[in-house]
């Protein structure tokens, strides 16, 4: 028996050392003591990194040893300072190896030569009457042959007034445009017989009369602007302007005030998320000048995802912004580059500082659009207490309650329904609102008295607005097909009123195969909902009522 411990030790030793893979390969990682920098040494196009540019690579390594460079295009060089020219555009990984020390890698992006097109004049370019030409810059250090082919948008006319769709040659001369909006002119160039990337310029063609401007945020695209022209001559197309500013992740509301557009983007995560560490927030409010030339950050949230800004309203020099499901805070319109914290942006109102709490309004009641009508706040809620909860500033309690509060006299409208967005037409004294209750989805229009009288869904019928073909509009509320789930659906996330003619604009994510998604409006003159632009997914919409030819 005394031999047993020795046997056990022997077996254990065999077990420990028997595996042939007991020494896995050690991955060689980049050495932090090896570093390098690179720069274009040709003075003319120093920041462009064109194909053929001479690039200098300099080792700045602490480690000492022979330097070997792998430029990622199959070529190698040695020395602490070397130069290299790339023959083809693309992204390469440059690797510097220092003998007996290790290596380091860095990406380098080589751009292809492309024609740079610019306008030969500044100032307003009016539809039909203004003529404009183009400057072309084409880097051609090797003096290769150049072939130019221009492609023009519909309605382009040459100096003789003849419609022109394309042109071969470097200078097409001065042109005029028959349509409004961003007119995309494309220049295709062959350099030494090789087709380059297209040169593109979007000519901003203004209307010849001052009209309001509609802004809208396209899903996955840019903020766009559209002149609200009601009396365009026959044949003139009203195309949108691409403002060149990304819409953001989920810009549920955009708001226009004075000369700026305020974009409220609730960030990547707008649905429920278990943000245990409170660091998934990435929402922000940014401010775009009305012509798109300047974009500034107003507020950034890097804390809890639920604190991202979702919906907004501007009143008295303040932007009121709601979080996901608790309350509304404020920020001055002139504020810039602020970082959100609850201490800096305390709630102006929250679920629990209204007498409705525990009496219709529950914990985490999901926020939707809100605004002020005749000094009364209208706050849409779509989950855990549905309806439009109305209150005065004086109804807001100083401290949160758990229930049994005094109910605000303004009362709840559309109680237990799912009002997502609303807008007040003060001139015509009607409220527009959207719902996504199954079977009652769509856009509604009624007076405040009629709104107060709606007690059940069946009461909604007379106020439901339709397309000219008699169909109503149905936003997507099918989980997996649209965005979000119960209480969160994007549906029609904002309504915008053109005070000049009473039209109400909105983006529809249609759940009805017979009705396409798009930018739509209710036209009070015709009494019908109609398309403005078909086939696009839109989040927030806003109107600059100040009339202008361009912006």
């Amino acid at each position: 028996m005394k031999i047993l411990p020795y046997l056990l030790t022997l077996v254990t030793a065999f077990l420990v050392f028997s595996c042939i893979d007991n020494e896995p390969d050690i991955e060689e990682l980049p050495n932090p003591n090896i570093a390098f920098k690179y720069s274009v040494i040709d003075p003319t196009y120093q920041i462009d990194y064109y194909v053929g540019a001479t690039i200098e690579f300099v080792s700045t390594s602490v480690a000492v040893g022979e330097c070997t460079w792998d430029f990622g295009d199959g070529t190698i060089a040695t020395g602490s300072t070397v130069t290299h020219k790339y023959k083809t555009a693309g992204t390469y990984t440059v690797k510097l190896t220092v003998a007996n020390a290790g290596y380091q890698t860095k990406p380098i992006f080589i751009s292809d030569i492309k024609p740079i097109v610019s306008l030969n004049k500044t100032g307003l370019i009016e539809v039909i009457s203004s003529s404009v030409g183009f400057n072309v810059e084409l880097p051609n250090p090797e003096g290769l042959s150049e072939e130019y082919h221009w492609i023009f948008p519909d309605g382009t006319k040459d100096a003789a007034g003849t419609i022109i769709s394309d042109f071969n040659g470097k200078d097409p001369g001065n042109l005029t445009f028959s349509n409004i909006g961003s007119q995309t002119v494309t220049l295709q160039v062959k350099l030494g017989g090789r087709q380059l990337e297209d040169g593109v310029i979007k000519v901003p063609v203004a209307y010849n009369q001052a009209v309001p401007t509609l802004y809208y945020a396209v899903k996955g695209g840019n903020i766009m602007a559209l002149k609200l022209v009601s009396n365009a001559p026959a044949g003139m197309k009203i195309n949108p302007f691409d403002m060149g500013t990304k819409s953001g992740q989920h810009p549920l509301n955009i708001l226009f005030s004075d000369t700026s557009l305020y974009v409220i983007d609730c960030g990547r995560q707008f649905t429920y998320v278990d943000d245990q560490d409170g660091n998934l927030g990435d929402g922000r409010i940014f401010v775009m000048s009305k012509d798109g030339a300047k974009v500034e950050t107003m507020l950034t949230n890097i804390g809890a995802a639920f604190n991202d800004p979702y919906y907004g309203y501007i009143d008295g020099g303040q932007l009121y912004f709601s979080d996901r499901n608790t309350g509304i805070s404020t920020i001055g319109l002139k504020e810039r580059n602020r970082t959100f914290s609850r201490a800096d942006f305390p709630y102006f109102v929250q679920n629990a500082t209204l007498g409705y709490y525990g009496q219709g309004l529950s914990y985490g009641a999901m926020n939707a659009c809100f605004g002020k009508i005749n000094n009364v706040w209208y706050w849409c809620k779509t989950y855990n207490g549905n309806g439009i909860f109305r209150f005065l500033d004086t109804d807001i309690l100083k401290t949160p309650i758990t229930g049994n509060g005094v109910l605000p006299l303004s009362g709840i409208a559309l109680e237990s329904m799912t009002p997502k967005s609303l807008v007040w037409d003060a001139k015509n004294k009607v409220i527009y609102f959207t719902l996504y209750d199954t079977g009652y989805e769509g856009l509604y229009r009624c007076t405040l008295e009629q709104l107060n009288a709606i007690k059940a869904r069946a009461d909604l019928t007379p106020y439901r607005l339709k397309l000219a073909n008699g169909k109503t509009i149905t936003p997507i509320t099918e989980t997996g097909k649209g965005e979000g789930s119960a209480g969160e659906f994007i549906t029609i996330c904002q309504l915008a009123l053109d005070e000049n003619d009473g039209s109400v604009y909105f983006g529809l994510r249609s759940g009805d195969a017979a009705v396409k998604s798009g930018l739509m409006r209710y036209n009070p003159t015709s009494g019908f909902i109609e398309y403005v632009i078909e086939g696009i997914d839109v989040y927030g919409v806003a109107v600059n009522k100040t009339k202008s030819k361009l912006f």
Binding site: K37, Y38, S39, I47, D48, Y49, Y50, T91, K106, P107, I108, F109, S111, D112, K114, I116, E137, Q195, E197, V200, G220, N222, G244, T245, K246, F286, M288, G292, A293, K294, V295, E296, T297, N337, G535
Partner: protein, 282 residues
């Protein structure tokens, strides 16, 4: 005695602080180094047109004895690329290939240098301040090719790669059901009569009739050879053509961002850094 103990304790404490070169207690609680210039800067806009100069305002000062010599703008380049292709012909499922990626394309580079000038001093700010601009490259303009009305094979290869079209077509074929073939072939006017290639079987779950391909000798329901042969002749562009909207269901976009920072150097070469600003180019 008391004084002697105090002196011994004091000397011991000094030894403790300076003796150990492995655990430097002073270094653990403070950052030891040279005083760097302080920089605060703000670009005028977080979005600019590629090729245009970006205006900025900078304030800087130093508390060290060394005068500031120069300021530099540095930025790297990041690319956001988005690709999406779908076939509108299939009805039994949604077939889209979507890819989004962001990557650093160029490491941080010195872009511009600004000499320090004592005249930049502003008494009310208690700092030097000036306004200037720094350049961006035209080559960083965003590129969009979205739902074109005419198909461009060269662009498709350039943006999606050589093998993409074949892979897309092959993958789609493996997923298509009889109903999808029917919609595609009739929609593209490739066949006048599709019914000769299909059987209908009662779906016990729904109570309706499903269209399927006939069984072969092994009891499988392969795609009939004629249909396979026809599929091979269909150009990729037709596969993604949306007959309802008369456009091709392909989207490609590429845009660039820069992470820019301002560095202020004193005459000893010690640099103070501002806060990194992300600027989108369009």
């Amino acid at each position: 005695m008391k004084t002697r103990y105090n002196i011994i304790f004091f000397i011991a404490a000094i030894f403790l602080f300076v003796a150990c070169n492995k655990h430097d207690m002073m270094n653990d609680v403070v950052i030891v180094g040279q005083m760097a210039p302080q920089v605060y800067w703000e670009p005028a806009s977080s979005t600019v047109k590629a090729g245009e100069d970006i205006p900025f305002t900078v304030q800087y000062y130093t508390t060290s004895k060394e005068n500031i010599e120069r300021l530099e703008i540095w930025y790297n380049i990041l690319e956001d690329e988005s690709k999406s292709v779908s076939s509108p012909w299939v009805t039994t499922f949604t077939y889209s290939v979507i890819s989004n990626k962001s990557s650093e394309k160029r490491v941080s580079q010195k872009i511009a240098t600004y000499d320090h000038n004592p005249n930049y001093w502003n008494d009310s700010l208690r700092a030097y301040t000036f306004k200037s601009t720094f350049p961006t490259s035209n080559t960083l303009a965003s590129v969009t090719w979205s739902k074109p009305a005419t198909f461009d094979n060269d662009k498709m290869v350039k943006y999606f790669g050589n093998a993409f079209m074949t892979q897309f077509k092959d993958s789609l074929f493996k997923l298509m059901k009889a109903k999808d073939f029917q919609k595609m072939y009739l929609g593209l006017n490739l066949l006048d009569n599709f019914k000769m290639y299909i059987d209908s079987v009662k779906n016990d779950n729904t109570g309706s009739w499903d269209y399927v391909f006939p069984k072969d000798a092994q009891g499988n329901r392969p795609v009939p050879k004629t249909l396979v042969d026809i599929y091979a002749t269909i150009p990729f562009s037709d596969i993604i053509f949306n007959k309802t909207t008369n456009v091709y269901d392909v989207d490609y976009s590429r845009s660039y961002r820069i992470n820019a920072n301002m560095k202020a150097y004193d005459k000893q070469g010690v640099a103070g850094l501002g806060i990194v600003k992300e600027i989108s180019l369009n």
